[in-house]
């Protein structure tokens, strides 16, 4: 077991001007499950390969435990890259399906048997070791695939989108299995995904990357409650946080017809406008003319609650957000399921002052 440290780690691919991973700093604790998340192309796989020893590090260092591994070859690092894809081999027994990578690595037979036994115990596969994969259920096959990684008993597991090609149901099931298995084994794990729900549900901590630059590294709760900047705010959480550009006033900000008090010292340097963010559950909805005026497009009933999807009545009001479709982004509010507004009706909204987020309009940085 070991800690992992990205220490100003930088990768510039040959032929590129800008780094694909730019001075990455992350400390992963011993036994921690760290999720690297971010949109496609943000540098997740590159970071993971740097840690595995498969990608040159142009600047900075990588540490595993107290060893500087920056210049070590992959096989000297004691990390196991878990394949994104796996196929079970039909003629081989479950035991051989789990142990074959050890055979390739030259581990002796007795040791392989021992480790396969152990892994099978953990995965509840002991009774199936001599069977062929054909005789297993879908979930059991999935566990055999995990067994392949476990038997290598590395200091660090590296996983690059291992669930991307599973169907929705199996993905949820396997997600839980991997997370609970990791906790039981206590092996430090760096897990890559583009899916923020996966990140939120699996990680002890999440590191969110954008364009090769670390945006924030924190627990799921912190990422949700105190996003560092507009990008984090928009990326984490589903449905996404509502982000609205609003004018700054003497003692706060003007949210439609609603005045919100914000400490001037926070707003000091931030020009005429700031971005105010609020999660759907932190939106006050009223039919009094108080707040930002919206027209209700769709109501999604969930029983106890309902989600209201609405657009600003004033077309000049733009909702900020991640991705190219920001313009088409609706404003989303969660309301009491017994008091839902009608489709097409007019509502007024403003954020719950205890749970609102304020960001600098230019830099996107969190204020306060």
């Amino acid at each position: 077991m070991a800690t992992v440290k990205f220490d100003q780690a930088t990768r510039i691919y040959p032929g590129n001007d800008t780094p694909s991973v730019d001075r990455l700093d992350i400390d992963v604790a011993d036994g921690e499950f760290l999720v690297l998340v971010g949109p496609s192309g943000c540098g997740k796989s590159t970071s993971l390969r740097m840690l595995a020893g498969l990608e040159e590090v142009n600047d900075g260092k990588i540490w595993i435990g107290d060893r500087d591994v920056t210049d070590l070859s992959p096989k000297d690092r004691d990390v196991a890259m878990v394949f994104q894809n796996y196929a079970l081999y039909p003629h081989m027994t479950v035991a051989d399906n789990m142990g074959f990578a050890l055979k390739i690595a030259g581990v002796d037979k007795g040791e392989i048997r021992k480790r396969v036994q152990e892994a099978a115990g953990i995965l509840d596969l002991t009774d199936y070791l001599e069977r062929k994969p054909k005789a297993l259920s879908g979930g059991q096959r999935q566990r055999v695939a995990m067994g392949r990684a476990i038997v290598r008993s590395p200091q660090v597991f590296l996983m690059d989108e291992p669930l991307s090609n599973l169907d929705a149901k199996l993905r949820v099931q396997t997600r839980t299995q991997i997370a609970s298995l990791q906790r039981r084994l206590g092996v430090t794990t760096v897990y890559v995904t583009h899916d923020q729900i996966e990140a939120m549900t699996m990680g002890d901590r999440i590191a969110l990357l954008k364009d090769g630059i670390l945006q924030q590294c924190a627990t799921p709760r912190e990422m949700y409650d105190r996003p560092n900047n507009v990008f984090v705010a928009g990326f984490i959480g589903s449905p996404a946080m509502n982000l609205v550009s609003v004018p700054v006033t003497e003692d706060g900000v003007q949210f439609g017809s609603h005045r919100l008090h914000v400490d001037r010292s926070l707003l000091g340097s931030s020009g005429n406008e700031v971005i105010v963010g609020m999660r759907p559950e932190d939106v006050e909805v009223t039919t009094n003319e108080d707040g930002l005026e919206l027209i209700v497009d769709v109501v999604e009933e969930l029983g106890a609650d309902a989600y209201v999807y609405a657009t600003p009545a004033n077309p000049d009001i733009r909702l900020e957000g991640v991705g190219d479709d920001a313009l088409a982004k609706p404003f989303i509010a969660r309301v009491d399921g017994r008091r839902v507004p009608d489709k097409g009706s007019k509502i007024f909204v403003y954020p719950n002052p205890d749970h609102m987020h304020v960001f600098n309009k230019e830099s996107g940085a969190r204020l306060g």
Binding site: Y13, P14, G15, R49, A52, L54, E55, E56, P74, M81, F83, Q84, N85, Y86, A87, L88, Y89, P90, H91, M92, T93, D96, F100, A101, K103, I104, P133, K134, A135, L136, S137, G138, G139, R141, Q142, S164, N165, L166, D167, K169, L170
Partner: protein, 417 residues
């Protein structure tokens, strides 16, 4: 949701396929029972408008991504299957959404490695397959393609004058870059080696591997072959100023490996005593391009090499060395190649492609000559071959002889045992 077909040239007959039925339950009568490799998704072959298509059930976003990647690889002239269509918006009879389908054209005369192993095999088949895969991987890497799931299952093989030519079939995990980093290439090699070892161990466990060496040792060959080839194709070489012939020598070595050098970088050092040469752009298909130019025959690299050798022998044998190459080649084509390949009875043409047949006949002639201890005319060799060897070969246009059930597919993980 409406059924949506994405295709460059959509065939309306596609609409007749039972898209509302999960692929696993498609009726036998439209399926072609061709062998396939190990896969995670459900894959089936269907006959449509006189051709065979491969259909893979896969999530819509992945299907579209793979379709685009295959199109780009085709554009780059890489050996791979040809994408045909993506069908999305499928809804089952019970109203439930079904995964999308990626449709590719079945690669004619191609053999999945598992089908090869169900035939009686020449010794050393595994190494020949790996050599072919090494060439494919080098070509893909030169084009900037990171595969991410290199394996024998994800490769199709075609016979190539006694050797094999490899084609990419599964691009699901791939990424196309301007140029790959060394780390990305190493990563692919690492994946290749583990997958190949696993696949060979599986054949061994099934009693299908007749190799005398163990799978792990054989699998290591992918690394050595790949590195040799990569070094030869891209590595710099320092030569003395007095040895300029070695520039030519390097070109010839690359030609012999089947590559043309489109761009060679030559730099002299400051004191002018040595020259550094490094191929910058290389292009596979040296022999097949030459044969195509001379005869119009479009065949694989080793077949072309073999045919060109026979053409050379013809030129020498008829004393035509000084004549225009294209005229002699035309004569060879009409006097030797075409008569030989036309001598195959209709009922046997699906056994082997013409160029491969020609190669086999040349081999057979040599074998007959050695036994008889004198030269054998080509006509005699072909007649003997057609009578005694060809009928015993399996049909390989689209291999039907093998029972697909003996080549179990690990279906999606949600499949019931």
């Amino acid at each position: 949701m409406a059924l949506e077909i994405t295709a460059a040239r959509p065939d309306p007959a596609l609409l007749d396929l039972p898209w509302r039925v999960p692929l696993e339950e498609w009726p036998e009568d439209i399926l072609a029972a061709l062998p396939r490799g190990i896969s995670r998704h459900v894959v089936r072959f269907v006959r449509l408008s006189g051709r065979v298509l491969a259909v893979k059930e896969i999530k819509a976003d992945l299907a579209r991504r793979e379709y685009e990647l295959l199109r780009n690889l085709n554009r780059l002239g890489m050996p791979c299957v040809e994408p045909f269509a993506v069908i999305s918006g499928r809804v089952g009879a019970d109203g439930r959404e079904l995964d999308a389908c990626l449709v590719t054209r079945h690669l004619q005369f191609s053999l999945p490695y598992r089908a090869l192993y169900s035939q009686t095999l020449r010794k050393g088949t595994a190494t020949r397959l790996i050599d072919a895969l090494a060439v494919l991987l080098v070509r893909l890497h030169l084009a900037g393609f990171w595969w991410g799931d290199v394996s024998l299952s994800n490769t199709l093989f075609r016979r190539d004058a006694g050797a094999f030519a490899a084609y990419l079939v599964d691009a699901e995990t791939g990424e196309l870059r301007q140029r790959l980093s060394d780390g990305q290439r190493e990563h692919d090699l690492d994946i290749a080696r583990i997958n190949i070892a696993g696949e060979l161990m599986d054949l061994e466990a099934g009693g299908l591997l007749q190799e005398d060496r163990d799978p792990v040792a054989v699998s290591e060959r992918i690394m050595t072959r790949y590195r040799e080839l990569w070094g030869e194709l891209t590595g710099p070489e320092l030569i003395d100023d007095g040895e300029r012939w070695r520039v030519e020598d390097r070109m010839r070595r690359l030609n012999a490996l089947g590559f043309d050098v489109d761009e060679l970088e030559i730099t002299t050092d400051l004191d002018g005593t040595s020259i550094r040469i490094q191929p910058k752009v290389v292009d596979a298909g040296h022999h097949s391009r030459r044969l195509l130019r001379l005869t119009g025959l479009d065949v694989r690299e080793n077949q072309a090499r073999r045919l060109l050798n026979d053409l050379d022998a013809f030129t020498a044998g008829t004393g035509r060395q000084g004549e225009d190459e294209e005229i002699v080649a035309h004569e060879w084509l009409t006097r030797i190649y075409e008569p030989v390949t036309r001598r195959v009875p209709r009922g046997l043409v699906a056994k082997l492609e013409p160029a491969e047949l020609f190669h086999e006949v040349l081999e057979h002639r040599w074998y007959l000559a050695e036994r008889a201890r004198h030269d054998i005319p080509i006509e005699e060799a072909i007649d003997d071959y057609v009578a005694s060897v060809l009928p015993g070969k399996p049909d390989e246009q689209s291999v039907l002889g093998v029972d697909t059930r003996e080549l179990p597919v690990i279906a999606g993980p949600n499949a019931q045992p």
